[in-house]
Amino acid sequence: MANADCIIIQGSNMAEAHPVGFQWVTEAKARGAKVIHVDPRFSRTSAVADKHVPIRAGSDIVLLGALINYVIEHEKWFNDYVVAYTNAASIINEDFRDTEDLDGLFSGFDPETGGYDMSSWSYEPDRAAHSGNPGDPGNDGDAAAEQDGAEESVEAAGDQYGMGGPELDVSKPRRDETLQHPRSVFQILKRHYSRYTPEMVRDVCGISIEDFELLARTVTENSGRERTTCFAYAVGWTQHTVGAQYIRTATILQLLLGNMGRPGGGIMALRGHASIQGSTDIPTLFNLLPGYLPMPTVEKEDLATYLDGIASKKQKGYWANADAYTISLLKAWWGDAATEENDWGYGYLPRLTGPHGTYQTVEGMMAGEVEGYFILGQNPAVGSANGRMQRMGMANLKWLVVRDFQLIESATWWKDGPEIETGELRTEDIETEVFFFPAANHVEKAGTFTQTQRLVQWRHQAVQPPGDAQSELQFFYEVGRRIRARLAGSTDPQDRALLDLTWDYPVDEHGEPDGDAVLQEINGRHLTGPDAGKHLSTFNEMKADGSTEGGCWIYTGVYADGINHAADRETGVADGPAGKEWGWAWPANRRILYNRASADPEGKPWSERKKLVWWDEDEGRWVGNDVPDFPVTLAPGTIPDPEAGGPAALAGDDAFIMQADGKGWLFAPKGMVDGPLPTHYEAQESPVPNVMYAQQHNPTRVTVPRSDNYSKPSAGMPGADVYPFLFTTYRLTEHHTAGGMSRWLPYLSELQPEMFCEVSPELAAERGLEPYDWATIVSPRAAIEAKVLVTERMRPLRIGGADAQTVHQIGLPYHWGVGGDAVVSGDSANDLIGVTLDPNVLIQGSKVGACDIIPGRRPRGTDLLDFVAGYQRRAGLTVDSGNEGVTGTGEDAGPEADPMAPPEMTSARPHPPADGPVVPHDPPGPLGRKPRPRDSQQPSQQPSRQPPATEPRTGRED
């Protein structure tokens, strides 16, 4: 970021949430870079930016889509970059239909399942490159059979893929480098965003045309050969039902402008926890194995089928070697018990049958399926959406283990939680056994965190943990050791995976396992041959024949040459945040991904000012100021053998080496479960109708229709005006997420003692809210109280064009919780939030909620329940409210309509009569859950692997 000429911060309040990182923005600004902050609230980030642009929460795709449209209309795209490095020139299947044709749906939508069959989004193959027998005339007519995905119906289910995404057989698509072919990605993109105009931005986002033009001019003037623009986002972009597509929209824009893989470019994800990146890379996530390999699903019965699902051997790039990464992982876990005969122990891996994310787990608790729960340094009673569901789920467990420093609310809800106060739960009725184990903190153990730029940093241990406090490393090592001892001698096949597990780690005199030894296992070793026992230095050394082991292929190299590079500490700060000897960045200590794109197709830097890596003709290799993200001796002009696959199939200009076709994806021919191009849908609880399409919401979002998770009726439906305002949540500098590490600290508690809400003077006047007095905020799920902060930082926005309405936004920090142990406590904003999920990553849409606000404190005890129920009755809420599927006709109205077009879609949820309450479609199931097809479908988790040049992120944290 320090090298950027323009920085757009959108969906993040970086100055307050990542204050020390913000010094690099300040530094760039001091050197003349322009900084623009796009955010619903005016914050400290806005105060130091050149310009603050207020936006209605939940409308970012319209703004970014309009920037894409502006770039195309004004011919501002970086043509040489776009043609060479993106899939702009690729031709798409003739069966593809855009949202412009189908009023908000893409081709392939199945109203029964609520998901897409992606086969019509695929590339059209380049027959010359794909035909096995060019002379065979019969081959030509059969192109469809060769299209990727055409061999089977590809139902969208991203949780089956790791970061590599689905395999892509058409890695050599037909191309038109003039970008004029009507089915070229470029032309499809141009049509798709043609209605994303400055006027639309004004009407949907509430941003004036002048502000939009200033933004568009600033971004385009600071992009190109000589200049680069960087975007930074945080959970303001991810916590939406179309969150993954927010990032995609920015990626498309950055690719068009040539800002990927170059210094001062890119898209910076600002993550909120010390090692949230690490816990995605080496995941404690249901759908992933280390290194973004997918967890196997039940269909993947053997290793070969599993590997086929990750990458085709015919596709380009490094994912084609997924067999070596997977087998090395299995060898690391099961050692000698992983043999070729037993499929390298693949059978030991448990299988997924759909989403098993944290919100599904809570439903499992309520259903009595989940008996025991470990909570490790997290505080879901306060930090997860719909906190009441979380607490009620825990109250139905047999046993709960909480490991933390302090008695956080997730450990004490059974005696002082909000449901005890309302009488919904009685302590003496709760059967759950609760264990609290004290945890060691960051100075009491040695190990690595991976920060937001993929930099792995080793921490040395300073002191021993006090009392019985233990690290997670020691606790789980101990639990594992005892479990294995108990099962010793078992002949039950279900115990084999535990008994064969490699679980020998050296321990010190305090019983603490050696974290360094674990890091070495993650790095990997040669097992046989002359180098047996030696550490691997790159994942290219991994083999699929069982001769190597390695616990996380992307981390291979962190222990190259037997040295812990995460502990590297080159002193001197002169070279800024890219100092290459401070810690170790995955992969291969590379600081900027896809940096081949920093040079032109001939291998020369696009400009002297923005050079990073380049081709050295004399040396015959890529050189420069970063580790080249490219096969180091692959010359710029190389044309690969058409029969080759994997890294050998990369051409000299295939800069995006992890993509199956070597190109940055403007259009995602596969993998995004809600469409190949980002499209504006309104949030689950948006105050306004979608003026861009008849389709109101993301049709593939995952709804959780339960009586404890009501949604507001969609805009325009009866009862919607009972919750007239929009609330959005955010964090403060002085607190950390759900407060477990901050509300127990006197300093931080004194700095931010009380829960508050930010409202505009206009809203305060309208509702009679007094500064520093109390207000009650009520959503379709709950009611909370907060102190009132009246401030012009919150600005009412005019939305909707001719018959514009005023949208009031309320800001709520979410750090407080109800409990008896913290230095400061208060009502939790997350209790207001409903659970409706992004279908790609299963993250909840928590940045846009509907509420009412009134002066005074909230009612106490059962009166509170009556108060919330009164609102629900007035709004006529049912489990169907706001959960419509298709709301347009989905018909292909275009002149190109033909009999081959997808079948006509009918509205899954007809609008109810305007005069009556919404009638439930089906009676709720035993859990209040209506058996809606979408829920048995497999929504998916998949990291934002499509955005070609950002780091892989799985979900997005808060």
Binding site: T284, F405, E444, F449, I483, V823, R953
Partner: protein, 182 residues
């Protein structure tokens, strides 16, 4: 000369930033950081910027945590959270013993670590078996348990996440999640 404003103007320190604001107490004390036995390099445990920390230790106790000026990421700076992290270590309310709440009990009881760990192992194995699924309705291999779930990891070390994922996966537990999905 005892009156601060006089001292400020007469003492050649008109802006009040130098000698006039130094008390005898100030001159008599020495910073903890200079008397510490050692300074250990660490990383801030809060957000993902990854600021460098220096942890000052005296008599095997953490006495102060400051920004590490050598870190190219943070150049010695810490925000309020990172600066407060000494209190995270030495908090009065920090729990250092195991607590157990029995079914229907109204309060905690203390428990020794060994007993508690054994009890967790018992329950782990029992719930694992109670909700074990060998095959699905089509007879396809599942080899998993739905009885145990876990949440957390974003505040933990990579090595810890690795062991957690490894152990739970080998035990057939799949519902392993962390903050990255929130």
């Amino acid at each position: 000369m005892g009156w601060p404003v006089l001292r400020q103007f007469l003492g050649g320190d008109p802006l009040g930033r130098s000698s006039s604001v130094v008390s005898r107490k100030t001159t008599e004390i020495t910073p903890r950081t200079t008397t510490a036995d050692r300074a250990v390099q660490s990383v801030c445990p809060y957000c993902a910027v990854g600021c460098g920390q220096k942890v000052f230790v005296s008599d095997e106790k953490v006495v102060q945590i400051e920004g590490d000026p050598e870190s190219p990421i943070s150049r010695g700076r810490l925000c309020p959270k990172g600066s407060a992290s000494e209190q995270l270590v030495n908090s009065d309310t920090r729990q250092t013993t195991v607590l157990y709440r029995a079914p229907r009990a109204k309060d905690w009881q203390e428990m020794d670590l060994e007993t508690a760990t054994e009890m967790v192992v018992d329950r782990f194995l029992e719930s694992r078996r109670n909700k074990w699924q060998d095959v699905d309705e089509h007879g396809r291999h599942l080899g998993r348990t739905m009885g145990i779930a876990s949440l957390g990891g974003a505040t933990l070390d990579n090595e810890e996440n690795y062991l957690i994922k490894k152990l739970f996966t080998a035990a057939g537990a799949i519902q392993i999640e962390n903050q990255a999905r929130i």
